[in-house]
């Protein structure tokens, strides 16, 4: 079993090395093959772990501890070097501060015999996402980079594969010091990936990502320091033993939660994730969906049994809920397709952390469902964004006007992606529904009332956003005279179709999926499974039911019927022009971009900063 866990980290690295060592255009096919191998290999390993005996506690060899310490210093010195090289004040100072804190931690860290790897179902769940969605993105990246820059393709794909290994490692370590090292490694990975194109904007955005994420690193180190000071704790499992104690010192947990907020690109630290869009699209796909930002809800989920019901949890609910609405509002003002997606990621990450900090079994279930479906859908949407960019040269909403006339497949997939984030039968909706109903139980707490308001308004704002984009895409000049599918390269189809299928099938069989696959994870996170029952397609929760016929009915309406719309022709009816008051006009229909909302952007950010500080100060118990 230990070997399987180790191979989950090592296999991607070996594959990455193989890809890296095969440069040039000649080996393109071979590299694609190697990248493809990662999908079956990692999925099989994850399958073995999922079916194995969990949780798994693995003692790491002593040399590894030393190696991690050395690696930490190496990493931080590299950050320092980058800061000096690009004359970036913040990067330099933060790297120095981290070096100082790390040294301090190493000086006072107690010896502990707690195993350094802790693989439970939550880790396995993250493995599952990384090893399917992540590898599909890598496969997609091979084709994408072939169209962009074949010479540097090996480098790019190798970094992505290596990143998957790092992510796997990050979600299975127990030692917080190691977690810090891996947290900063993901920062490094995002830094390298964002500056991949090496133009001025890329480097600027990469440095921004670097300094913002270093704040997260500092928060982890501070959390660790206070953890050692108050309890002598250095491992996650030790913190978990605190759950149920009447009074606990929240400072270490507060700092860890803050690091999650930073990694999860919550406002005011959302700009680094927005900056990631200058990189090639697979970077956005992998940062937004399978890896990197998912560390944030993972961390909150890890801590949720301890922070459940505390002031910290309530403040987290309000902060993340505010971000859920605020990011959605700001997304309305954007014209760039990838930026819209980025804002909606920030927004939905807020929802994930909100539900995770609620901490009851139903809420955790909702959070996990959200993580799973969001990873799949966001990967799909970013891949489609890449397809639009490469095949149709469309980056802005204005460019995707009337795309449905040229690219029915892309439009259909994108619409399914967008609809699955708001509309009724899809997984993300189901988790939102469960979260609202769960929050209704605790309405005497202001935080939960806030969460309901945030969920209701945020959801509807996202619906507005997505339908705006769908509407622009489906605008047409006239009839389909001949129905023609666009030619999408096979690799693109190979990496997107499974995701679409998962979204659809997973949403139809949502009851079974939740009961059989997600509920064991809930049990691993907080000890008790959520009280849900699957009866056929019907999902029965403690307070309500989602009937199978409702799911099927919604799918018939949403999927089958719009696809039918391509083939329905009312041949016997007259055709006419649009009503324009009788004027003869050259029509050029734009989109409404809600520029009025830009006026509130400073207020949203200021409020987010205030809430952020509130979370740290009050929630972390710094008063």
């Amino acid at each position: 079993m230990e070997k399987i866990v180790y191979s989950l980290f090592l296999v991607p690295w070996v594959l990455a090395l193989a890809v890296f060592l095969l440069p040039g255009a000649r080996f393109h096919r071979l590299r694609q093959l190697i990248t493809f191998l990662s999908l079956p290999a990692l999925s099989f390993l994850t399958y073995l772990i999922w079916n194995g005996h969990l949780p798994l506690q693995i003692e790491a060899p002593r040399w590894l501890k030393l190696a991690f310490t050395v690696y930490d210093y190496g990493l931080l010195f590299y950050f320092l070097y980058q800061g000096i090289k690009f004359r970036d004040f913040l990067v330099t100072v933060l790297a120095l501060f981290q070096l100082f804190l790390l040294t301090w931690v190493l000086l006072i860290i107690p010896e502990s015999s707690v195993p350094d790897f802790y693989v439970d179902r939550l880790s396995a769940f993250m493995f599952l996402i990384v090893s399917t969605v992540g590898t599909l993105i890598c496969i997609y990246a091979t084709k994408y980079m072939e169209q962009e820059n074949l010479e540097r393709e090996n480098r790019f794909v190798a970094i992505l594969l290596w990143f998957l290994g790092v992510m796997n490692l990050a979600v299975s370590v127990n030692n917080i010091e190691w977690f810090f090292a891996l947290f900063e490694t993901t920062t490094l990975a995002s830094y390298i990936l964002i500056r991949f194109r090496w133009d001025e904007v890329s480097v600027k955005n990469a440095l921004r990502a670097l300094w913002m994420n270093q704040i997260g690193g500092i928060a982890i180190l501070l959390g660790l320091l206070f953890g050692i000071k108050y309890y002598g704790f250095t491992h996650f499992t030790q913190f978990l033993s605190l759950s149920g104690k009447p009074t606990i010192v929240m400072i270490p947990l507060g700092f860890l939660a803050v690091s999650a907020l930073v990694k999860g690109a919550q406002m005011p630290f959302h700009r680094w994730l927005l900056g990631a869009m200058v990189a090639p699209t697979p970077v956005s796909a992998i940062l937004h969906s399978a890896t990197m930002v998912k560390i944030a809800p993972y961390l909150i989920l890890r801590l949720s049994p301890v922070i459940k019901g505390t002031l910290l949890a309530k403040l987290l609910i309000i902060t993340t809920g505010f971000v859920f609405v605020g990011a959605g509002l700001l997304a309305l003002t954007q014209e760039n397709f990838k930026k819209i997606l980025a804002y909606s990621t920030i927004s939905l990450l807020g929802l994930m952390m909100l539900t995770a900090s609620m901490g009851s079994s139903m809420a955790i279930l909702a959070s996990l469902t959200l993580i799973l479906f969001h990873a799949v859908v966001k990967a799909l949407l970013f891949m489609e964004a890449g397809v639009m960019e490469k095949l149709f040269k469309a980056k802005y909403i204005e460019d995707i006007r009337r795309l449905v006339e040229r690219a029915p497949i892309t439009v259909a997939f994108t619409s399914i992606g967008f609809m699955s984030m708001t509309i009724v039968p899809y997984g993300i909706f189901v988790s939102k529904w469960m979260a609202i109903e769960e929050a209704s139980n605790f309405l005497s707490h202001g935080a939960y009332v806030g969460s309901i308001i945030f969920m209701a308004t945020g959801g509807v704002i996202l619906a507005l956003l997505y339908f705006k984009v769908i509407g622009v895409m489906t605008r047409k000049r006239g009839e389909f005279f001949r129905f023609q599918l666009e030619k999408v390269p096979f690799v693109y189809l190979f990496s997107t179709v499974p995701l679409v299928l998962f979204v659809i099938v997973g949403s139809i069989f949502i009851a079974k999926l939740l009961c059989l696959s997600v509920n064991p994870v809930v049990e691993a996170v907080i000890g008790t499974p959520a009280p849900i029952i699957a009866k056929g397609l019907t999902l029965i929760t403690p307070v309500s039911e989602l009937y199978g016929w409702q799911i099927i009915g919604a799918f018939v309406l949403l999927l089958i019927v719009p696809i039918l719309a391509y083939f329905v022709h009312f041949t016997g009816t007259d055709r006419v022009y649009e009503y324009t008051c009788g004027e003869k006009l050259e029509l050029n229909i734009g989109t409404y971009n809600f520029f009025c909302i830009q006026a509130v952007e400073p207020f949203v950010e200021t409020a987010a900063v205030a809430l952020f500080i509130l979370t740290l100060v009050l929630g972390g118990g710094l008063v």
């Binding site: 529904w433 209704s440 005497s444 209701a456 308004t457 389909f480 039911e545 009312f570 649009e578």
Partner: protein, 280 residues
């Protein structure tokens, strides 16, 4: 409510909605000192439209009009069949999606503006309805519509502010003055429905009658198990919103969203919090 009752009610909901609409036209006329059309006027319109020559922009657009009817009908069935209230509310969003996508799918300025405003209508009233589902849960202890209808409590007594808020947002869901920005007949000539004609307009026209039934059933839920009170509430709401329709001018969409978000939702939330605190 059993599935069969719900099914039959849903099946006849266009007829019920048509009568409500006919009555509304009479009441509105009387309030303006006019005689008004006969009660069956909506049905005359219906049959007349059946006989018109249909002209369409393109098939996708026309098809979305029909889908709007089917979607609304299905949403009503979900509400009446006694299932989860929240799910029924979100099904309503789904049905609106067809109207919106249809409105966006033609290159007509009025239609596109109207579709965007339709979405803003949704932004305005949807949070209130989600919150009211939570509030009804708080009072009756269930999210199931059938449970609420058989509840011993009368939610209206516990949720007076909430009921007021829902009452004021009724014009937004039915697109009546002062919140009729999405249709705005004098301004954008019907918004998303402008390009439909003949049988296809008939579908959109009928779907709006079904929305009447949907909205008034929502009012009915505020009486809980007391169905006579529910009927009275519907009658009151009907006259109230006709009065509102007649005495107010159209506000713009910002004022509409602002009114819902800054006045109605806080009103509802105050009620919600007080009742939750009292109960705990």
């Amino acid at each position: 409510m059993s599935y069969w009752t719900a099914f039959i009610l849903t099946l006849f909901s266009p007829v019920i909605g048509g009568f409500i609409y006919g009555l509304e036209r009479i009441v509105r006329a009387r309030m303006q000192g006019r005689v008004g059309p006969p009660l069956l006027q909506p049905f005359y319109d219906f049959f007349k439209l059946m006989d018109k020559r249909s002209i369409i922009i393109h098939s996708f657009h026309a098809f979305m009009g029909i889908m709007y009817l089917i979607g609304t009908w299905f949403a009503l069935f979900v509400l009446l069949s006694g299932g989860d209230l929240l799910i029924a509310i979100f099904f309503h969003v789904l049905s609106l999606a067809f109207l919106v996508v249809g409105g966006f799918s033609v290159r007509s300025p009025y239609s596109v503006i109207g579709a965007m405003r339709e979405l803003l209508h949704m932004v305005a009233y949807e949070p209130l309805y989600v919150l009211s589902a939570a509030a009804l849960y708080l009072v009756t202890g269930t999210f199931q519509v059938s449970g609420i209808l058989h509840s011993k409590h009368v939610p209206l007594i516990y949720l007076p502010l909430f009921f007021t808020a829902v009452l004021f947002s009724l014009p937004a869901i039915l697109k009546k003055s002062p919140f009729d920005t999405a249709e705005a007949h004098q301004e954008i000539i019907g918004g998303p429905e402008i390009e439909y004609s003949g049988k296809f307009y008939e579908a959109v026209y009928t779907a709006k009658w079904i929305e009447y039934v949907y909205a008034f059933f929502f009012i009915f839920l505020f009486a809980g198990g007391n169905h006579i009170l529910g009927a009275l509430l519907i009658i009151f709401a009907f006259f109230f919103f006709n009065l509102l329709d007649n005495v107010t001018a159209r506000v713009n969409f910002r004022q509409m969203v602002a009114f819902h978000w800054y006045i109605l939702i806080p009103l509802a939330v105050i009620n919600l919090m007080l009742i939750a605190l009292w109960r705990s």
